[in-house]
Amino acid sequence: MRYDIIIIGGGLAGVTAGLQLHKAGKRCLIISEGLSLHKTPKDEYIAAGGAFLPGDSVISGEWDGNALKAVRTRNLEGTRLEADHFILASGKFFSRGLVATMDAVIEPVFGCDVEFDSCRDKWYNDDFYAVQPFERFGVKPTEDGRVFIGGVPAANLWAAGEILAGETDIEQSALKIVSILVK
């Protein structure tokens, strides 16, 4: 199955990117593991004919050098889902875009480089109401928004939304990648 762009994650970043890319004439697939709480852009995307795969999650990628060729999902394991570009919008810990072990934070699907503090005692703030350091952990992308894997920038895997390190404007981070991909 071939698409122009596959978006991993059906949260605000994923559906925002999907809707705009679809409107720009790109054939998109959004793969969404959980509930999409952002019903309006999601419904609009689907109503406009965008492809949406609910209740499924990407389990592996197929690479050619630093270019991602295809992904496979848990439910459609036999199917290669190919695309020219991929957007990683799988969120932080709650949505399992990031996984914390006892001493590291990883991006579980592609092994993207993640920024985090190496000392676990510094992952949190004792004050519940303060911004938590772990809420700032995430993928640190290239200037234009592509992920690093083992220090090397991927050619066509982009990151948007909460998976990004630092303070993120979710919609803006998605629209930034849209503007590059529709050029």
Binding site: F94, T101, R120, Y124, D126, F128, F134, E135
Partner: protein, 520 residues
């Protein structure tokens, strides 16, 4: 300033103070129990919940061991509703000295503890969660005890027999007349009111905080604050208590309780000023997990629900960097003979398992000072909830009623389930009926108190899903609906403290969710 007169004032609403209040009340004394925070808020609620057989101390501290097995036997009878008779295993691993087992069994037998060597294969059959590499095992009568339930039951019985209880009330000083302690000044933290409470005898049963209480009277009792950290897992992997058959060390006891299990402890000396806000470090968590996996390997992939720590009220005898070699025996100080200050005694040291004996010894001393000759009855009289069997719950009983029967024993008959059987906390099946019962009988002022009385929010969601609903129901039932959001704030902050040391895996997911739900 308001002033009232009692025979005895007991400072500290932990298990020791609660037990002492019950004993004093049963002997007919006009009794007042004063607690700075809530019942069981200190070391009482921050331990394994292990009803020791005494085996752990048999080799190193035979006096404590003998005390433990006597009290263990008594509590199974008088507090059947708080105790689960799990039995315990002391396991030897390949790196342990198997010869120690012989000394261990002999020491247990000398202390009157039934200790039975078990073939490793039989031990694994008995307790499938145990490390399959064991080279030896000894079965002992350890059990699991719910310290919140036990404290509540003691306080409830004390009040039934006329005792008065003041929670959220802090002793700010002693009243001294003619060289004698004749009472205390108390600040009520809820009303801000200061009052005088007078008594013939005052009992300092404040655990590690007893050090500061004694200082208020100008006395030093040389306590040794030994912090012990523990981890609680999201579900129960073991049926029996699992211990390591070696000299007591770090993280060598895994205790099941209700639907969870607890690994602990560490032991480090901490400054007195830290005792009010004790936190578990990442290093301690790592050590607990590493050692805990040697007892039951499956805990390595069981979710850690939270971490907590308590401070043992040990009395220092010599310099010992960990406090492991200080006796866990009971320390009863008569400040009249020890320091020339009549009217004040201190009961400390000891253990959760030996609380009743501590209370008996303290009450005996109080009675001897008051000329009261009534004998102690606490070893014979069942605690509220344990007087009669609840009976096998009927198939038609609601889950909430079954859960309440498990928690409160025969007291479930005092709950009114008509129209109030709706479940408010799904993890622990706490109903509106149980909440209303707790408010009526068990001195509940906020959500954290309610958690200690009913296990509300103690399950796998840690209150994330039910907190708002529970806070609303509680605030309405207390007649102060405006307090609901304050209850939530207190509760979230308390839960956060337990979550931060285990901020990985499912724990960090929980934290992110909690922040999104309640953090803004």
């Amino acid at each position: 300033m308001a002033s009232q007169e009692y025979d005895v004032i007991i400072i500290g609403g932990g298990i020791t103070g609660a037990g002492t209040a019950r004993d004093c009340a049963l002997r007919g004394l006009r009794t007042l129990l004063i607690e700075r925070h809530d019942l069981a808020a200190g070391a009482t609620g921050r331990n394994h919940g292990l009803l020791h057989s005494g085996a752990r101390y048999a080799v190193t501290d035979s006096e404590s061991a003998a005390e433990c097995i006597r009290e263990n036997t008594i509590l199974r009878k008088i507090a059947s509703n708080c105790v689960e008779e799990t039995d315990g295993l002391f396991i030897s691993l390949p790196e342990d000295d198997i010869e120690y087992r012989k000394t261990f069994i002999e020491s247990c037998q000398r202390a009157g503890i039934k200790a039975e060597a078990i073939d490793p294969k039989d031990a694994i059959r008995m307790e499938p969660a145990v490390n399959p590499d064991i080279i030896g095992a000894v079965k002992v009568p350890d059990a699991s005890v719910d310290p919140f339930r036990l404290t509540t039951a003691n306080v409830l019985d004390a009040t039934v027999h006329g005792a008065e209880v003041m929670t959220y009330s802090e002793v700010t000083g002693f009243i001294e007349e003619n060289g004698r302690i004749v009472g205390v000044t108390v600040r009520n933290h809820r009303s801000g009111e200061l009052s005088e409470m007078r008594s013939a005898v005052t009992v300092n049963a404040a655990g590690i905080w007893g050090h500061a209480i004694a200082e208020l009277a100008g006395i030093s009792i040389g306590m040794y604050p030994a912090k012990g950290s523990l981890l609680i897992f999201g579900h129960r992997v073991n049926r029996m208590v699992i211990n390591r058959c070696r000299k007591p060390a770090n993280a060598d006891i895994l205790v099941p309780g209700d639907v969870v299990c607890v690994i602990g402890t560490t032991s480090t000396k901490v400054p007195f000023e830290d005792c009010d806000d004790i936190r578990v470090t990442a290093d301690e968590v790592n050590l607990l997990l590493e050692e805990g996996c040697k007892l039951a390997p499956s805990i390595s992939h069981t979710r850690v629900l939270r971490a907590y720590a308590g401070v043992r009220p040990l009395v220092a005898s010599d310099e010992d960097p960990t406090g492991r070699s200080i006796s866990r025996g009971i320390v009863l100080l008569d400040h009249e003979t020890r320091d020339g200050l009549p009217g004040l005694i201190t009961i400390t040291g000891g253990k959760l398992t030996s609380y009743r004996l501590m209370a008996e010894q303290a009450t005996d001393l109080v009675c001897s000072k008051l000329g009261n000759v009534k004998k102690c009855e606490t070893a014979l009289r069942p605690l509220p909830g344990s007087e009669e069997e609840v009976g096998i719950s009927r198939q038609s009983d609601s889950l909430g009623r079954k859960a309440a029967g498990n928690r409160h024993g025969a007291r479930v008959f005092q709950m009114d389930f008509a129209d109030k059987s709706e479940v408010v906390c799904e993890c622990e099946h706490v109903t509106r009926a149980e909440i209303e019962y707790a408010i009526k009988f068990l001195d509940v002022h906020n959500l954290i108190d309610l958690r200690r009385r009913t296990r509300i929010g103690m399950g796998t969601c840690q209150g994330s899903f039910c907190m708002l609903r529970v806070a609303t129901v509680l605030a309405q039932a207390l007649g102060c609906p405006e307090k609901a959001s304050e209850f939530v704030r207190q509760y979230v902050e308390e839960r956060w403290k337990g979550l931060t040391p285990v901020c990985w895996g499912e724990g960090i997911r929980e934290m992110e969710f909690m922040r999104k739900q309640y953090g803004k």
